[in-house]
Amino acid sequence: MSSLAVEHIDGVAIARLSVDIDASNAARVRGELSDCFQRSTDQVVLDLSTTAYLDSAGIDMLFRLSQRLRQRRALLLLVIPDGSQLSRLARIVGLGRAMPVHDTVDDALRSLSNPCGAGKPA
């Protein structure tokens, strides 16, 4: 089973992850996210609203991937609902400093159509 369910809306890939990201699957998730970029688009929204846990291996993976994409002028956006346990973790490790983090998928998509809204500080 693929870890990611991917759909495309207006040329943006939206990848939804419903399992935890940890040492057991971080490399695979990274590979699947990279595939999304190669196949379709320069913008991928990673929806973590049903993901319960993200450990340091998962966080490292997101930081590194985002850094690589930036060099290619591509963008990884995260969706982590406000008030969730994951959003607390995102603040602690400073995910928002490296990539846009949004409350909902709609917010993330809106930020892409409106270049001024580059994501809220997390």
Binding site: A23, N25, Q85, L89
Partner: protein, 529 residues
């Protein structure tokens, strides 16, 4: 032939030291001795292949071609076939007058033949014969001597077959039944596998338990039609395919449908009954599907026993396109689920409902007792003086409350981390921890566990332990491995440690030569006396 030399020949056939030879050496030695003892030109041993109903040349002296050419004689045909079919000695004084299947006998110029059956407990397992190039009439003494040799060979072959079957059976059982049932806090497993009869023919009964990455636990029971190595290997195929489908994330209905299509497409001789159960700890929901398997017994916390009403589909492999509807039930803490194969309750001369009722009664009674594993208690209740008519596989799953202490040993592989987090979450919830507290402690312990797994990388059979203890105002959890704390990836590990420190109130790393212990302490809002 003089009398003393006859005695010597008898002694040479019953010589105790023959017992130390391998089967091949023994056969060749006995054929030599009997040929000498009877002054015969040829000596041949053929063994019966019961499945195909033919005698196959196994060893020969003076007629080695028989073995090399793999001569096969149908039962009741020709000379050897007649000996086997009639299960008594046959003498042919003049071969030119007799019906012969095997042309080698004539080509060799054999004139006279004496054959005796090789018998085990009155059953024919083969034929032994000696031949003479000259016309000869074999007397009663000759017949007795050849029968003596045949009996000695029967003994050796029977013993060798038993040993071979046993070792195949043992290997099969070791490979196909889970060697250790997984440790999942809150569940206690006890399993039993009992082969019927002498135990040399393993059946196709099996059970299995495993945990999916998201924490759900799956129990499986099944029974392949037939016995022996073939049934056991079909069972192995099903077990592997079933695990693979579940890991791919299919629903229970889909898993059963896929299994059925797979077995149906693999040709005849592959049919089985099976039932799969999936427990979601968080909701207590127990889903089940059944492919013609007997209903599982559920003993509730009050000790009432009833059969689960899983809607049964057709057995696997009977026809493609079968449907397997999923039934939802609940599995409360304090309940026991009992999975079994029909050998446990079926008695010849008794309707199946009587057997089910006896099992229900045994389950109810077993729940009142405390001694020994649950599966053993049920089995002892049902045990009677009759020998088992069929193999029995039995798996009991008890749902237990999680206490103030948590203790588990896990394989040091990344795949265990997700299940570990679910278990810790469940335990912490039982200790009154809030959602945020559960998240923090779980993630901190998971980080420590990921380190233990990383240390063990490449080591075979490495394990680590996780323990939790509720104290009045906090929880204390330890992760212990037997490797060394190494900062192999400073960037990642540094972040892991930083995350741990920011989530909980105390992180202590104690690294000594024989391993590392990480202790995580978190204060809880809810206090316990």
């Amino acid at each position: 032939m003089s009398q003393p030399s006859r005695l010597e020949h008898i002694q040479s056939l019953t010589d105790a030291s023959l017992g130390y030879l391998s089967l091949e050496e023994l056969l060749s030695e006995l054929l030599d001795r009997i040929r000498q003892g009877l002054a015969a030109d040829t000596a041949v041993l053929l063994l019966l292949d019961e499945d195909r109903g033919v005698l196959v040349a196994r060893a020969a002296r003076g007629l080695e071609e028989e073995v090399r050419q793999g001569v096969q004689i149908p039962l009741a045909r020709g000379f050897a076939g007649r000996v086997a079919a009639e299960a008594r000695p046959v003498v042919i004084e003049d071969l030119s007058q007799a019906e012969i299947v095997n042309p080698i006998l004539r080509q060799k110029g054999i004139r006279s033949l004496l054959g005796v059956p090789v018998l085990v407990e009155g059953r024919v397992i083969g034929v032994m014969h000696v031949g003479s190039l000259h016309h000869r009439s074999f007397n009663d003494e000759d017949i007795a001597l050849l029968q003596l040799a045949a009996d000695r060979i029967a003994l050796a072959i029977d013993r060798a077959r038993l040993t071979e079957q046993r070792s195949v059976t043992e290997v099969m059982q070791r490979t196909l039944l889970p060697d250790a049932l997984p440790q999942i806090p809150g569940l206690r497993f006890s399993g039993k596998y009992l082969p019927a009869g002498s135990g040399v023919k393993i059946g196709g009964d099996w059970y299995d338990v495993f945990q999916l990455p998201d924490g759900r636990v799956t129990f499986v029971i099944g029974d392949v039609v037939g016995r022996g190595v073939m049934a056991a290997s079909v069972m192995g195929e099903i077990r592997t395919a079933l695990r693979a489908y579940l890991i791919e994330g299919h629903s229970l209905e889909a898993v059963m449908t896929l299994l059925n299509d797979l077995l149906s497409s693999m040709g005849r001789n592959r049919s089985a009954t099976a039932a799969i159960f999936e427990l979601d700890f968080e909701s207590g929901v127990l889903e089940s599907v059944s492919a013609g398997h007997l209903p599982a017994l559920l003993v509730d916390p009050s000790g009432q026993a009833s059969f689960m009403e899983t809607e049964p589909g057709l057995p696997l492999g009977v026809s493609a396109g079968g449907r397997y509807p999923c039934t939802r039930g609940t599995f409360e803490v304090g309940s026991t689920l009992l999975l079994y194969t029909d050998g446990l309750i079926e008695r010849r001369s008794e309707p199946i409902d009587d057997g089910l009722e006896r099992l229900r009664e045994a389950g109810r009674h077993a729940a009142e007792l405390q001694d020994g594993p649950f599966a053993d208690r049920v089995y002892l209740e049902l045990l009677d003086e009759n020998p088992l008519e069929d193999d029995v596989a039995l798996l009991a799953i008890e749902s237990l409350p999680l206490g103030e202490r948590l203790s588990m040993t896990l394989d040091a592989v990344p795949g265990v981390l997700a299940g570990l987090r679910r278990t810790i979450g469940r335990w912490l919830a039982g200790q009154g921890a809030s959602e945020a507290e559960i998240f923090d402690v779980t993630l901190a312990v998971s980080e420590a566990a990921a380190n233990a797994v990383e240390h063990a990388y490449g080591a075979r059979d490495a394990t680590f332990t996780v323990e939790g203890q509720r104290e009045p105002d906090r929880v204390r959890m330890t992760v212990r491995d037997d490797g060394r704390w190494r900062n192999t990836r400073p960037y990642g590990r540094g972040r892991g440690l930083a995350i741990m420190r920011s989530l909980v109130d105390g992180v202590e790393i104690d690294s000594v030569d024989d391993g590392t212990t990480v202790t995580v302490v978190k204060r809880l809002e809810e206090q316990r006396p």
